[in-house]
């Protein structure tokens, strides 16, 4: 049988998605269901003096109008930050109370105040206009840079500072800088982004008063964890009587990893009102209330020798958390960020300081790449600047500082198991025809265009798990993954995973692993995920972890199946278990014609008849059935790396940047399905190029989100991109038996600096993300003004 692993198998899920048969939360309608709409704060910061729901409660079709007071009465807990960060002075991070429905204050536009529940959506909306909220509007804190010098938003949290965290050896790094032959400094701005999943969030609570079971249908990347948090912290319902179902989910990019206020509220409201309650987010509501991404201001510097050796790195970052600390908000700008600022370079010492601040903006949390794009952006931008200031070729300068030997213990946290950075960079330089760049630049110049080239050689820490590692870094729980392989008596297989697919094509990739491992055709394998009542507890999908951790758990469960199968086959074929060979779905006694297919074994395991002459196929004492569970907790993260090269052409008359070519050579370790990997790269690149050139969540000084619709928030379109040139190198990961590293975030991590380095190379002056046409036009104007002055 041809190996499935490594082949471009067509996606099993395409048929339903391409024919409109996906079943998303909004598609689900339950008998007797009510509809809910939220009253949200129009102000960025205000005290709530009173909420008058009396008129709305009397409106046609209205069943109830619920407020924070009702939640308090029912003792529903607030939302939590799940990862404890300790400040450099030894104090714990400071997190404000975060009630699902505000009780006395609101802290961003879109913050939740009340819920109108009615028989129809129309009636709920009409009644929502009748709810009167009496606000005392306060001056908003909207600026990341100014947050520490502004009014205190949450009582007792001085300077609006959640934590002041550090990583690395400060004294040693200071020493590297004082003995440096050259120091290059840079200010970096990482713009704020709205995740913009194609499917807006939605949830439906459904309470069964007979069984006292509560079901929540929701748009989650992580249903098990959502249930755990809602049971343990929000006290919505005990875990064993609480079922969370995340059916088809149309993208998350991190913004759906954790339960939101709306999830807690729908679950609680359904229980309180004893009827199903449904809420579906509208697009502008989604702009306002989904957690945003990035939003860092950074000062960084590198210490250098004149020969181009980097001898130290210093990073000082202010990270905006928004109005509250969301579930993964505190780990994103710390442990997912700080260790990665070293990039893939051999830097002997570094120091990273991060101050996380509250502002009156939507909460900021993990977004595709989470911390690693921010780290990659700063190191790749400053490496470019350093090369230019040293007068070195930017490619040569990078290569000089690459880590060359593996495993490599970095000076901050990570121990990188494998890689070959010259290999992917050389391949990318070749593919991008770096040597022909000057010629292309001259051709562009002849057309009146400015051409630039930019590199981004990156590394990321993926396969987010190692319990020991993450807990030593402050995680509230360990991270691992589960799988269950359940053979059905007729020989087909249900595979349960604790990860969740919402665009990652797990149905196909994971089935390929099982098909190879067990020799069963793809069509006989069904992946089951997204329902806490079906599979074992798991940790969901984010941090490019599903394959490296979840896929490995599946492979391990397959191994256990084979092991049991061998024992059964040996018994049936009258051989010894350790003699039996398993290949292409058959258990064989070598050098004989004796064999059993895995289907026959499954059947025998479930129907082990024994009577009189008929001997049981199972060895004595063996339990019937063919079902195995495995939990996998890897020994280390995985470290995908790669080289991205972008060429842009800028029209100086309008400032418009066109991405002319984009080349990437990535090392994701072994690839299970190269077509799916390519799709993941495309999506990541679209988001990364979007961040570099188009996207920006912009709050004005009063804390209003100006870019709250697609009329103002610029999403990249297909015609903004060239045909991507994609290739790979491979150094298998040693931290998991599949040798895979993860590919889901690479595009978004690597591309912003590649694009920005190209833009800056083209125009010869600095510009911040997004490099919109007007910004570039202005930068060019400034440049020619100062050139004129100098002349």
């Amino acid at each position: 049988m041809a190996s499935m692993i490594g082949s471009k198998v067509e996606r099993k899920e395409d048929k339903k998605f391409l024919t409109g048969k996906g079943r998303y939360t909004a598609d689900i309608n339950l008998h007797n269901q009510l509809h809910a709409v939220f009253i949200r704060s129009p102000h960025a910061r205000a005290k709530i003096k009173g909420i008058d729901t009396s008129k709305a409660k009397k409106a046609a079709g209205v069943v109830d109008v619920l407020t924070g007071k009702d939640m308090q009465d029912d003792k529903i807990g607030g939302l939590i930050a799940g990862w404890k960060i300790v400040s450099k002075d030894g104090t714990d991070m400071k997190c404000p109370a975060h009630p699902p429905l505000a009780t006395d204050s609101v802290n961003y536009v879109g913050d939740h105040i009340a819920l109108v529940v009615a028989e129809t959506l129309q009636e709920a909306k009409d009644a929502a206009d009748l709810v009167k909220v009496d606000y005392k509007v306060l001056k908003a804190v909207a600026s990341t840079a100014e947050a520490m010098n502004s009014d205190v938003i949450h009582e007792g949290i001085e300077k609006n500072l959640c934590f002041d965290w550090e990583l690395g050896d400060k004294a040693k790094t200071d020493e590297a800088f004082s003995s440096a032959e050259k120091v290059v400094e840079m200010d970096i701005l990482n713009n704020r982004l709205v995740p913009n999943a194609m499917e807006p969030r939605a949830s439906i609570g459904d309470y069964n008063s007979s069984s006292e079971e509560l079901t929540l249908y929701t748009t989650s990347q992580n249903p098990h964890l959502s249930r755990l948090v809602m049971s343990a912290f929000n006290a919505v319902h005990p875990e064993h009587k609480f079922r969370v179902i995340a059916p088809d989910v149309g993208g998350g990019f991190g913004s759906k990893i954790y339960p939101y206020s709306e999830d807690v509220i729908m679950a609680w409201a359904a229980k309180r009102l004893q009827r199903p309650v449904k809420w579906v987010c509208e697009r502008t509501e989604s702009f306002l209330s989904d957690c945003h991404g990035r939003d860092h201001i950074t000062k960084c510097s590198v210490a250098l020798k004149n020969d181009g050796t980097v001898t130290g790195l210093k990073v000082d970052t202010i990270a905006n958390l928004g109005g509250y600390a969301s579930l993964f908000a505190t780990v994103t700008p710390t442990y997912l960020y700080g260790p990665l600022v070293l990039g893939l370079y051999n830097i002997p010492t570094a120091y990273c300081n991060v101050k996380a601040v509250y502002t009156n903006t939507a909460p900021v949390d993990a977004y595709r790449g989470a911390g690693r794009p921010e780290a990659t952006y700063l190191i790749e931008r400053i490496m470019d600047k350093a090369a230019k200031e040293l007068g070195m070729d930017r490619a040569e300068f990078r290569k000089k500082n690459f880590i060359k030997q593996f495993p490599h213990q970095q000076c901050l946290v990570h121990n990188i198991d494998s890689g070959d950075y010259d290999a992917h960079f050389d391949k990318a330089l070749n593919l991008a025809d770096y040597s022909g760049f000057e010629k292309r630049k001259a051709e562009s110049a002849a057309k009146g265009k400015l051409r630039g080239i930019g590199f981004s050689t990156y590394i990321e820490a993926c396969g987010i798990a190692p319990s020991a590692a993450v807990m030593s870094l402050g995680a509230g729980v360990g991270l691992w993954e589960s799988a269950e392989i359940r053979f059905n008596p007729t020989g087909n297989i249900s595979v349960f995973t604790g990860t969740h697919s919402h665009g990652q094509s797990h149905d196909t990739t994971f089935a390929q692993i099982v098909a190879d491992k067990l020799g069963v055709p793809m069509e006989n394998i069904e992946l089951v995920h997204g329902d806490t009542d079906k599979g074992p507890f798991g940790m969901g999908t984010y941090g490019s972890r599903s394959l490296a951790v979840g896929g490995t758990a599946i492979a391990k469960a397959c191994d256990k199946i084979v092991e049991k199968g061998k024992a059964v086959a040996a018994n049936m074929l009258e051989a010894k278990a350790d003699e039996i060979e398993f290949k292409d779905g058959e258990f064989i006694v070598p050098n004989t014609n004796k064999k059993k297919t895995i289907g026959e074994i499954a059947f025998a395991c479930y129907l082990p008849g024994t009577y009189g002459e008929i001997k049981s196929p199972l060895p004595e004492g063996m339990e019937p059935g063919l079902k195995e569970t495995a939990f996998y907790d890897p020994v280390n993260f995985s470290f995908p790396a790669g080289s991205h090269i972008c060429e842009v052409e800028v029209d100086p008359t309008t400032g418009e940047t066109k991405v002319d070519t984009y080349t990437c050579v990535d090392d994701f370790g072994n690839l299970i399905n190269p077509m799916i990997v390519e799709g993941q790269i495309h999506g990541g690149l679209a988001q990364g190029i979007g961040q570099a050139l188009y996207e920006n969540a912009y709050y004005d000084e009063t804390g209003q989100l100006v870019t709250a619709s697609y009329m103002d928030y610029c999403m990249p379109r297909a015609d903004n991109f060239p045909e991507f040139r994609i290739d790979y190198t491979c150094t298998p990961a040693t931290s998991n038996p599949l040798g895979v590293k993860g590919c889901g975030e690479a595009g978004a991590i690597a591309s912003p600096p590649a694009v920005m380095n190209a833009v800056v190379d083209a125009i010869g002056t600095e510009v911040t993300m997004p490099a919109t046409a007007e910004k570039v036009w202005k930068a060019l104007k400034e440049k020619s003004k100062s050139a004129k002055k100098a002349a």
Binding site: Q122, K125, D126, T284, T653, T654, G655, Y694, Y698, V706, T707, Y710, M711, D712, Y713, C714, M715, T772, A773, E774, W777, K778
Partner: protein
């Protein structure tokens, strides 16, 4: 969306009769429906006009192209007659929104709405259009009054727009990167005696740039605009473009229009 009465008008007369203070004509619905869904507007009566026979069709006579108000952008874009008579007008229609929008949105709806960044108003001005309504004819110069404001009365229906055929013309749109409406759009029409340069997107309402017209009437060459600095104090400013940038884009777009004039 709030509740309303729906009327399917079969004739101009019926549509006008159904109109009231609190009604709206519905054509392609590309602007009206979203604003109703977002509850930014609501009406007691919505009168569908897009199936009225008299509002359909494209007619080319010697001097003009007359297009029915309910004609969709996609129809204008693909019309052989329009492409031959005024290629820039077909190109303008083909550059509006996306395929879905072009298959729904109509000429009448566009000009009645008079969005400051809509494309058609610039064509109306540059092509000396006459707007035919249910009870009169209005010169384009007098039709576009201000931001989202036209000379139309509440119960007055646009029935057709008659464009004059120029010697050559071009439309250059510099799109707003987010919405892809015109950040700045320049419709340039060259006639025997004069050149008209109509600009959309840059000010609250479409206008003629007399400075550009003067320079091009002098010498119809992109380089004659090289040193032209338009005053930015009357230009729109928003998060997508400052007034100064818009002023510069108008000149850049006009230069490209001269080069593309066909």
């Amino acid at each position: 969306m709030k509740q309303f009465n729906f009327h399917e008008a079969k004739s101009v007369k019926e549509a006008v009769k159904a109109a009231s203070k609190n009604s709206a004509f519905l054509s392609g619905g590309q602007t009206l429906i979203p604003s109703m869904k977002l509850r930014l507007s609501s009406f007691s009566d919505v009168i569908n006009v897009k199936n009225i026979k008299d509002l359909q069709g494209i007619k080319v006579s010697g001097k003009s192209v007359k297009i029915g108000a309910a004609t969709k952008h996609a129809e204008v874009a693909s019309s052989k007659d329009v492409k031959k008579a005024i290629p820039a007008l077909a190109a303008l229609a083909g550059g509006i929104g996306d395929m879905q929008v072009r298959n729904k949105g109509t000429l009448g709806g566009s000009i009645a709405n008079n969005d400051p960044s809509a494309c058609y108003p610039s064509a109306c001005i540059a092509l000396n259009a006459v707007i035919h309504t249910s009870n009169r004819k209005i010169d384009a110069e007098k039709f576009f009054k201000g931001m989202f404001e036209t000379a139309l009365k509440k119960d007055e229906l646009v029935t057709a727009v008659e464009f004059t055929i120029p010697e050559k013309s071009a439309y250059i749109k510099i799109p707003n990167p987010a919405s892809r409406y015109a950040l700045v759009g320049v419709f340039l029409a060259k006639y025997k005696k004069e050149t008209i340069c109509a600009v959309t997107g840059a000010q609250p309402v479409v206008f003629r740039s007399k400075e550009i017209e003067k320079a091009l009437n002098n010498n119809f060459d992109p380089n004659s605009l090289n040193d032209l600095n338009l005053k930015s104090n009357e230009m729109n400013a928003d998060i997508h473009a400052s007034a100064e940038y818009r002023a510069s884009l108008v000149v850049t777009a006009a230069q490209k229009a001269v080069i593309n004039c066909k």
